[in-house]
Amino acid sequence: MPMFEARQLSCRKGAHTLFRHLSLQLAAGDILHVRGHNGSGKTSLLRILAGLARAEHGSLWWQGVAQAADGAEQRQRVGWLGQRPGFKDALSAAENLADCQALHQQPPSAGAIRLLLQHWGLQASAAQASADLSQGQRQRLSLALLQLRAAPLWVLDEPFNALDEPGCTLLWDMLQQHVRHGGIAILSHHAALPACTAQLWLGSAA
């Protein structure tokens, strides 16, 4: 029985329909790569799967249990990475991580935060306001926040944007580790990703 399932999803943007009767099943340890040219509805699909947006028709199922249409239950299980950074520019990286820790009811531990910052190469500018970080560093901070949340289902919208070579390898290691621990990842990326277990083409296939 698949861990996460979507049935007969359909989504409309204004007067025209992006996709219809879209179904997918994902078991623990799967990485789904959503592909499609611009405007094919990749982001809309990801927002529906994350429980942010509401599909025109269709439903989401988690371990065989149908999820409420407003997406509240679904969002508790999802680690979301969208186009927007998701942290406050005026606060420093360390403060953002500490707030995220507190808001997720995790015991506050400076050690875990220091480890995360070192892992993502942000310890040098940990005290700087996040606004002064480079675009790549800001993406790394978003990924660090995602790792801190430790959600079973990750929905990532173009996570490789603005990442340099070491950043991409760090992201891959995190994905592999997440999937090895029985998690699921759904991500969209414009280029081919060989290590993904499944692919989903939106719009007319290339």
Partner: protein, 223 residues
């Protein structure tokens, strides 16, 4: 959702307001300037000022609250912190009430602290000033809570700021009417027991119910 999360959110917003005091200070200066416009526009004579005093202070406080509400969710919406809030294990209405209270502490309390000085400028008798500050403190809290759903509705729309005024000014009227009446009544020596209790009732009503509407509007805005 436990109170430690509520405190974290509230403290985070207060820290943000302290880090960038510009936003809250420009609302305070706006309040002071608009109040001083009225004597210049009408006449500095004590009788006129005393007649229009309470109304002027309350209208300017309402307009200042409108500015505060414009900023309430805008910055969190732009950098995705609101989206992140939706994924956290917390009760969304309660979380939003934390943000509104933080905005009230940083943005509205300075207005309340300054209002007695402006009251003196408008020839209000000294005995009325504590009533003025008290009703403004209660009233601005009610105004911020009433306006929060409107602030959430205009996220992501074109010219949201102008639309916000049109959306929530009609809803501000009950608080404005009873607040101004309370101060005017105190000034005239009447017992303002009734107006104060209705103002308190309005504040409690909005503090408990409008976060639910704000949460619904927010989920819609983040779709």
């Amino acid at each position: 959702m436990n109170w430690q999360q509520w405190r974290t959110l509230c403290l985070r917003d207060i820290r943000l307001a302290m880090r960038r005091p510009g936003e809250t200070l420009h609302v305070l200066f706006f309040f002071i300037m608009t109040v001083t416009l009225f004597p210049l526009a009408s006449s500095p004579s004590a009788t006129t000022l005393q007649a229009i005093g309470p109304g002027v202070l309350w209208v300017c406080a309402v307009l200042a609250c409108l500015l505060l509400l414009g900023e309430l969710l805008e910055s969190d919406w732009r950098d995705g912190a609101l989206e992140a809030l939706l994924f956290m294990p917390l009760n969304l209405p309660l979380a939003l009430s934390a943000k509104i209270v933080a905005r009230w502490l940083c943005g509205a309390l300075p207005l309340v602290i300054v209002s007695p000085l402006l009251g003196l400028q408008l020839e209000l008798p000294a005995s009325v000033l504590p009533m003025l500050a008290g009703t403004l403190a209660l009233g601005t809290l009610a105004l911020l809570f009433i306006g929060a759903p409107g602030a959430a509705l205009i996220l992501g729309t074109r010219n949201g700021g102008m639309l916000l005024g049109l959306l929530i000014l009609p809803l501000f009227l009950p608080v404005l009417i009873f607040g101004a009446l309370a101060v005017a009544g105190a000034q005239a020596g009447r017992s303002v027991e009734a107006e104060l209790s209705i103002l308190l009732a309005l504040t409690l009503l909005t503090v408990f119910f409008s976060p639910l509407a704000t949460a619904a509007c927010l989920r819609l805005a983040c779709e």
